[in-house]
Symmetry: C3
Subunit: 256 residues, 3 copies
Amino acid sequence: MKFNNRNIQLGVNVRIGKNVRIGDNTTIYDNVEVGDNTIVANDCVIGEPQQAYYFQANYTNPETKIGANSFIRSHAIIYAGSTFGEGLTTGHRITVREGAHFGTNCLISTMVDIQGNATFGNYCRLYSNVHICEFSRLGNHVFIFPYTIFTNDSRPPSNVCIGPTVGDYTIIAVHSVVLPGVNIGSNCLIGSNSVVSRDVLDYSFAVGSPAKVTRDIREIGSREKDGSQYPWMYNFERGMPWQGIGFDAWLSQQQK
Amino acid sequence: MKFNNRNIQLGVNVRIGKNVRIGDNTTIYDNVEVGDNTIVANDCVIGEPQQAYYFQANYTNPETKIGANSFIRSHAIIYAGSTFGEGLTTGHRITVREGAHFGTNCLISTMVDIQGNATFGNYCRLYSNVHICEFSRLGNHVFIFPYTIFTNDSRPPSNVCIGPTVGDYTIIAVHSVVLPGVNIGSNCLIGSNSVVSRDVLDYSFAVGSPAKVTRDIREIGSREKDGSQYPWMYNFERGMPWQGIGFDAWLSQQQK
Amino acid sequence: MKFNNRNIQLGVNVRIGKNVRIGDNTTIYDNVEVGDNTIVANDCVIGEPQQAYYFQANYTNPETKIGANSFIRSHAIIYAGSTFGEGLTTGHRITVREGAHFGTNCLISTMVDIQGNATFGNYCRLYSNVHICEFSRLGNHVFIFPYTIFTNDSRPPSNVCIGPTVGDYTIIAVHSVVLPGVNIGSNCLIGSNSVVSRDVLDYSFAVGSPAKVTRDIREIGSREKDGSQYPWMYNFERGMPWQGIGFDAWLSQQQK
């Protein structure tokens, strides 16, 4: 019942790919490209104009690009001037401000709030209510669990905003805070309810407020088998590009 | 102005009870039952199809049941395959995924996010932005205060997800995290901003990150009278089934 | 495309000022006043009726007032019986319950949840997902950063609810909890992920769970210049009434 072409509004220069479905009550503003086979469910706004739209007569909406084979659930608000690689999946009621750039195959879950001007690699997974501040930079295959917040102003309110960075394959558990300008390496695990106030080196498990490194992630045992759970890519493949072939085989394909 | 029958969409095999009111712009999908005297406000989606709906031609929507005398505020998204006993009350913009089962007289406040495949007893109260993971099991008269999160994966991301359990009459204060598989007993109180990492026995007050039991709840004084505030059922009755008669009288009625 | 007068619903005694724009699918209930030059974007509900509306035939909607020169972004739900001074700006999907009173030039960001019966001074800034409980009282120029929660019941659930108070120019960082009845003075800074359980005196920096005062805010260095960052009004002016003239000049104007 969502795809009746009821009350759909399309702006100027909206380029819709093949086999795209658009839900009822969805609005797509000017200068938006939607890739082939993508579903935009009901009650979404794609290419939401920036603030100047409301106050300037000659406003031009920046380009917005939604990759092919994406699935945007209902009530999403995606601002103009953001781009998403193919295979995007979202939950409901996401908000993404302008200037966010996502790689391919990312997940943006229900009520995630992206403040814009941030970059994300491929296969990032942002779970419910994650909040990412401006100027954040996340690598590939980064998982951020619910209600975790990135911050960029160490002397609030000030004029100096520096986003955190996160390396590939790093996992941040629920209800954590990453403080401004902190660099978290690759293959790290941050425990629940942590406040990450200093840089964290690759392969570290850090937890607490302020977070302290308590061990190497390779020392954390699995619940499924003998040996270590981390690096997790050897033990988890659902939705990842190495599904069915294993991480090493995929990695060697990539490196060719 | 909400009940003008404007833009209401009803699917196949939608069974609406007597004296039900449905708000404008609300969609009810196939195979949903709405009990007598229930109000579904504007802009809701009841029986939201699961993901297969979008990709499989022969998708059948699972049964969804909303009990009688319920009041669902605007912008709720309730997936197909969940059930709610009578007397449900919700805030705005709730999200409930498939396979959630609620007893009678529950409260699901504004922006609560239920991940599905979880069970709730009677008279549970989930306040704003509570996030309950899959496989959680809550007893009766459990109160969860805002921004508290239940988690189910102790080695994220992994394939082993075990939800927490919570016993009857337990209270969890704001901004807490309950870790995977933790069993919190009945009549417990968890303080604000706690991380509950180990089982908590009945009648315990636990607080901190990780939460430690600091005393028996019966040692916590009331702010209204001499003596203890807990078990709270002797001091609080608003909206509870013992309202007007007292907890002991109600309990003895139940035990007959 | 938002201002096509599509599906706008206006109640009785709705007073719309000059040069107001109202977005598609927005509903304004009875007894709402919207000041001159205000924008109410699409899919908003202004003057949302209180619960009695649904159950009482003779319900009268309380007065709601939105000041002039305001900008309410999409999907806001503002209950009847709240008032906002001029220059209000909101994010998307805010919820404000009845009996909230805001001064002039406040910011209420995306998904903020105001429980009602709370007061706010001028130039308050509530960032994403801030949750303010009933009976809270905030002064002027108070900044509350994302996912911070105010609470009012120290023995949940009980019948004794006492909101926190916050003095002028105080800043509360992300993911903090302010416990019931706590008084935070003016010119304070509360660090991230704190639980404020006791009163905090003017000019204090407090952090931790429970929060402890670790120093005077005037001892916290700036990242932009030599010397202290706080009081911040000497180092930050964007959107503040002293923009372009400096804090001292503005202050002396005010005191005339």
